[in-house]
């Protein structure tokens, strides 16, 4: 559905995007993940036709994106990072204006406007001026404004920035509905939990380059440890030697603190039985066992050596 080939964009001597390449299949939701300044927004701007790449191309179903008035832009809906709405106009008038930019008018425009307002749960606020909306309501309307012309591809540039958890969940519900309708979503974020919840595949970008492009599980497989077992020991230490634990088959790491042994394994199905059996055999009794998975933060740290949020 969407193919990005070797996109490059520089501002003076600063290289913002350096050979970004990826594909998104129809109906797929792909997360474009990276820290602030990684080149995500510049990439999205080139896909949306706002910026002309220095080189490379954007293909929509195999057709290159042309000039400003190329009709193929109708296949794309952009949800900008900013709340791009006219505060002085009511919600419905905002949507009707943006719909008209895609040559919708008359009864059709009214119908799609009503549908978009229904989808984001703002039908009862249609006549209210946007300036009176809460931040979350504005974010939802910001999403609705990109849906009027029924685009196949939605470019979502950090659409939940600055909203409360309730509104974030509402936006996620909207996006999941769109996903079920077969829309292709490119979701830009630096929130790990959002990408984990929504995306089928993740393109990790840093310093303008793609450093990973895989499914969530595929990215986890890049890690030396895919699961961590937290084992509460019956006696605080009981003479347990960490070197012995690390020597157990399938164990990649081990540490103990406050009576809890944390053991890293690459494969839960073989690693977990092995360590639990070893503890029983060596007389180290335990009272509780839990498994936790590393998050995308850990993936990014593993890929770049830097924390995603602190970059």
């Amino acid at each position: 559905m969407l193919e990005v080939k070797d996109l490059r964009k520089s501002y003076g001597s600063t290289v913002a995007v350096d050979g970004v390449t990826f594909r998104i299949a129809k109906g797929e939701t792909v997360g474009l993940l990276g820290p602030n300044g990684a080149g995500k927004t510049t990439t999205v701007s080139m896909i949306a036709g706002l910026l002309r790449p220095d080189s490379g191309e954007v293909l929509i179903e195999g057709r290159p994106l042309g000039g400003d008035s190329d009709p193929i832009k109708r296949r794309i809906g952009l949800v900008p990072q900013d709340i791009a709405l006219f505060d002085e106009l009511p919600a419905r008038d905002n949507l009707e204006f943006f719909g008209a930019l895609y040559r919708l008018d008359g009864a059709q425009l009214k119908r799609v406007t009503s549908e978009a307002l229904d989808l984001v749960g703002l039908a009862d606020k249609a006549r209210e001026k946007v300036r009176n909306f809460s931040g979350g309501m504005k974010r939802r309307l910001n999403l609705a404004a990109a849906l009027l012309h029924d685009p196949d591809i939605l470019l979502l540039d950090e659409p939940t920035v600055g909203v409360d958890p309730q509104s974030r969940n509402a936006i996620f519900d909207n996006l999941e509905t769109l996903k079920k309708r077969g829309k292709t979503l490119l979701y830009t974020t630096h929130y790990m939990e959002e990408a984990e919840r929504l995306c089928d595949r993740l393109v990790v970008i840093d310093h303008g380059k793609v450093i990973a492009d895989d499914t969530l599980h595929g990215l986890y497989r890049l890690l030396p440890v895919t699961n961590i077992l937290s084992i509460e020991l019956e006696t605080a230490n009981g003479g347990l030697r960490l070197e012995d634990v690390r020597a157990v088959s399938g164990v990649r790491s081990a540490e103990v603190a406050e009576g809890v042994l944390r053991v890293g394994v690459h494969d839960l199905s073989t690693g977990a039985p092995g360590i639990l059996q070893w503890l029983a055999d060596t007389g180290h009794l335990y009272t509780h066992v839990a498994s936790e998975r590393p998050d995308l933060e850990t993936v990014f740290l593993n890929l770049t050596g830097r924390s995603l949020r602190d970059s």
Binding site: T41, S45, A48, G49, L50, L51, R52, G67, D68, S69, D70, P71, I72, K73, R74, I76, L78, P80, Q81, D82, I83, A84, L85, F86, E88, L89, D93, E96, F97, F98, A100, L101, Y102, R103, L104, D105, A145, A146
Partner: protein, 434 residues
Amino acid sequence: MMIPLVALIRKDLRLFLSDRRAVIMSFVAPIMIAAFFGYIFGGNGGKTETSRIAVLVVDQDTSAISRAIFADLAANKSLDVKASEPDPAREAVRKGTATVAVVLPKDFGASAGRAFFRTENKPEIALLYDPSHSAEQGMVQGILTGSVMQVVSREMFNGTTGQAVVRESLSQIDRSSGLAPADKRSLHDLLQSVEQWNERAQAAGASGQTGLSTGLTVPYRIREEAVTARTGVQYNGYAHSFGGMSVQFILFMGIDVGIGVLLQRQRGLWKRLRAAPISRGLLLGSRAISAAMISMLILLVVFGVARIVFGVRIEGSMPGFLGVCVAFSLMTAAFGLLVAALGKTPEATRGLSIFVTLILVMLGGAWVPAFIFPQWLQTVTMFVPTRWAMDGFDAMTWRGLGFSAAIGPIAALLGSTAVFGALAVSRFRWEAEG
């Protein structure tokens, strides 16, 4: 193309009309300020009551001549004359409570009479004036000269002081040894004729006949005629001020058009507009059309109020007036786009744009007519579009000129539109993200 174009223009008009500040600045402010300036600069038909010049007269002579001069000055409608003393008069001028003080020295009457026939020993009238009112000083001096000439000559040919001065002068001429005999004889004959004139005038006055002489008078009368559109049409000071204030506040609206684009860019709206399948020409063109429409609306409303309330008529060509309005509106739209193209942040751009606009308005003669500028500056203003707009509005309103007089202003304004527009398009930062 029409659906997005109409939507973009309608959106701009709605946003403009929903902004109370913009509406007040565009409609109410020009009308209020133009009404004030129009009243100050002559009002409707020059009927506005103008303030009289405050003049203090210090009469140190108290002769018949000095008293007559005081009375003559006091009778003048342009002057507000009061008697005073030397020190208070000087202090009043220094403080600005009086514009001019006239000091008639002791023996002024007799000295002026003698000096009337001779060149030596002329008495001196001190004229103290406020230097910030030099124009009024010139006016008072002119009135005073006429008054002194009339009063002194009347006294010389009619009054008792005049008879005494003539007799004294005859006696001095007879005694004089410095004059050539032929000159002495001529002067003697002249003064003797004056003496005889005086005697006949007095005799005529005693028998009830008058009018033999009232002294020297100005040998002409002035017929004043303000040259306006047609005979019988009076000058309307509101016409120029409404044109001037319309120009000023419409340019302010043009700044808002440019700032609006910068704000859209800052708020991410520009991205959303550019993401739609519409051309750059349509985006900028719609902005220009809506700005020109708002400008036309302001012009029509402001001049409509001027017509209804202040009697400002389009005495010249109506097509010419509309042509100037359209050309100025297009120029304003291009000016707005130029502001958007050259500006970076809305905050920084607003201050600089207002400064530039005020300069344009001032040089255009919207505040005070351009003819008071130095010649070199008047030449410079020929390159300022607002000057052409003002000339066009003046020509089509109170000057009552035909369409041909609008062609120059229209061409100049359209030329400015082309220059501003080309600059705006070439410098517009399409890829700026705010």
